[in-house]
Amino acid sequence: MRLKTLLMFTAPSAVLMLVFIFVPLISVAVQSLFSTTLVREQVKVETCTPGFLAQVCTTAERSQVVLRADGKPVTRTVFTGLDSYRSVLEVEKLAAAFASGGQGWTAVAGLDFWRALRFTLTFTFITLPLVVGLGMLIALAVNNMLRSVRGPLVFISLLPFIVTPVIGALSIRWLFVGDGILTALLRATIDPSISMFAQGWTIELLMLVYRVWHVAPFAFIVFYAGLQTVDQDTLESAVIDGASRFERLRFVVIPHLMPLIVFVALIHMMDAYRVFEEVVGFAAEAHVISLQWLTFNFLTPDFTGNRSISRASASSMLTMVGIVLLLIPLLVRVWRDHKPRS
């Protein structure tokens, strides 16, 4: 295929990605260095009240937003350098925590960015092996079943994957919240005073359970599709060579599925790193937050209608650096697999 044809076919897709992914990334980088504020001015206001013999007048200084002729507020954009990064990272508080007399890690656990980072990373690395493992187990088990029951099994297994993440999280929350039936069950069997939404670690546990429940079906369906293409002749010759079931799994099936395992791990790491819907669904923001939620919160208008764009941009940039660092090993592997053979 000639270069011109390639460019013509890929142009619409490439332009979309350029305009709506690449350009926003650049503009976020720029935004994080500037800060836009409303221009305010100090106005002297004299208020007089009629008194006996003379008016009593008081002057007070008030600050108010300057308006343009068309009634919109005047804004000023100033270069602030790394100030928004400093404010997102809470450098001063960090320094204070580790200065003599500081509280060390306990204080860091109270700073928004750092607790979000801590949760996002532990979440990613704990769910990764669980998702791959559970997905593989379900795929192997379904593959061993009779053909007639596989259809319904695949359907039921896919349900947690297709359900909207916020809704899935909510449906699990409703089982546990307040006197929900599963909390009632836990109270009856383990500890009569259990409450799943009163402390951070139980919410975190629910989030992990939810995510494995939600993504394992994706791993399952990919591995299951891969199992259909395992070479039966190789398996049979392995049997003739005396390989046990486990050895066949270890030396024939797993190597065959290896590209798929890398694929699922790659997709899952990207997705788990952007954990967000769980925080909304479980209403966890008081106890546990994630990096995406932090940015989302900066972008949501506060009660005066302001969005802290520059802080959102700074935390976005930090989030982005994090995922790129995490993915480098996997990206290098993909690179080697797909490099043009020229």
Binding site: S27, M270, M320
Partner: protein, 403 residues
């Protein structure tokens, strides 16, 4: 009957263990959703009870509102079974009988038609039928008991959500956004995926690597880029409208630059772009599995590249396209972050709209409405997987999963 060779067959113990494991998994997979659906048909006293039997049998709902009889249950189960058979057996057979219509038109049409038919059958036809039979049975001694309500059941939360809270507006917005995203995303993506599969060029390789990195970008990062631009798009885009060389063109569409915030069209383009990296990677691996001889033959016969794509490749690409389209659908339909930040109350889709029920969580009925809304959001996805599950597995086996 059993297609596994004797030597590869698992031992009895292993098969029992695997069966048990799958049984546990199926319960875990379906339970939260089934339970939420059961709660949505109960009065708050029953639905939020700590006793599972109360939730299932709903005595208070039965006393206060009414319920369903054994007869209704039997009719309901038969209806669900028929729906299941129809979706898994009937629809594919029907689709096979009309091969002239391209899959991209046929399948969505069938799915929508089927949803309407199933909804009509389940919510209108069956209750009426069951009522008629019940009237007849009541005249008989003993058998009349079958027609007496035994389990509490109410649809009032759905009525409150869809009619009083006007959830149907959000439903229509969701449909608009998802249909837009799926069609645009697939038309743009198939072209690119096809070219990338057939090209050995260095540029193709770099495009794929860039797409992979873009796929990793958290949506909040991109959204922080969109928000300021969307909010002040009137001022930013103004030069395009004022400059004579481009102004005449843009003024064909509107007198002045649009405010992109709250525009479903803008959201569609944004979601299409966010979804492009995954789409082109997936479609590329499908096209790699379609033999190159096919389009080469067409080229030899004098077709241009585009004609070769149109005539030789299009007819055989549907399994892959349907699977990819399903992933696009899920992304657009399930999105919370982007839609919550870039749409206003008028144009809100269903998923971000559900938080309005959660945030007003003061009365018990508010929580019930949230539950009913959640079930309403899940139902279309349920039908979708029912209809398409064979295509998903077939599509994935055919290509996407080569890594």
């Amino acid at each position: 009957m059993n297609d596994v060779p004797q030597a590869l067959r698992a031992s009895v113990a292993l098969r029992i263990a695997a069966g048990l494991f799958l049984a546990v998994w199926c319960v875990v997979a379906a339970f939260p959703l089934v339970w939420t659906a059961a709660m949505s048909f109960r009065a708050p006293v029953d639905a939020l009870s700590a006793n599972p039997l109360t939730v299932l049998l709903a005595p208070a709902t039965l006393r206060l509102v009414g319920g369903v009889s054994v007869l209704d249950l039997v009719f309901g189960l038969v209806g669900i079974w028929l729906g299941w058979r129809g979706a898994t057996r009937g629809l594919p057979a029907l689709a096979a009988r009309v091969p002239a219509v391209p899959g991209v038109v046929l399948w969505p049409g069938l799915a929508i038609g089927f949803s309407f038919a199933a909804g009509f059958g389940l919510f209108v036809l069956l209750p009426v039928l069951s009522d008629l039979v019940g009237q007849g049975l009541r005249m008989l001694p003993l058998l009349g008991l079958l027609a007496e309500p035994v389990i509490g059941f109410t649809g009032e939360h759905y009525r409150a959500v869809w009619i009083k809270q006007e959830f149907y507006r959000n439903f229509l917005n969701s449909m608009l956004v998802t249909v837009g995203v799926v069609t645009i995303s697939l038309s743009v993506g198939t072209l690119a995926g096809y070219a990338l599969a057939r090209s050995q060029s260095r540029i193709a390789f770099w495009l794929l690597v860039a797409a992979l990195v873009f796929r990793a970008m958290p949506h909040s990062v991109l959204t922080s880029g969109y928000v300021p631009f969307f909010l002040s798009s009137r001022e930013i885009l103004a030069p395009l409208w004022e400059w004579a060389a481009t102004g005449w063109f843009f003024q064909l569409f509107s007198d002045r630059p649009p405010l992109l915030y709250g525009q479903p069209a803008a959201i569609i383009i944004v979601l299409v772009s966010i979804n492009q990296p995954f789409t082109i990677w997936m479609l590329r691996s499908f096209f790699q599995n379609i033999p190159q001889e096919l389009d080469e033959a067409a080229r030899v016969d004098g077709c241009s590249h585009f004609e070769a794509f149109w005539r030789a490749i299009m007819p055989v690409m549907w399994p892959g396209v349907i699977t990819t389209g399903l992933f696009s659908f899920l992304l657009a339909y399930n999105d919370y972050l982007v839609t919550a930040l870039l749409l206003d109350a008028q144009s809100m889709t269903m998923v971000p709209a559900i938080t309005q029920f959660l945030n007003r969580d003061i009365r018990l009925s508010d929580q019930m409405e949230a539950i009913a809304a959640a079930v309403s959001i899940t139902a279309p996805l349920f039908v979708l997987v029912l209809v398409f599950q064979r295509q998903i597995v077939a599509g994935l086996t055919q290509g996407a999963v080569k890594g």
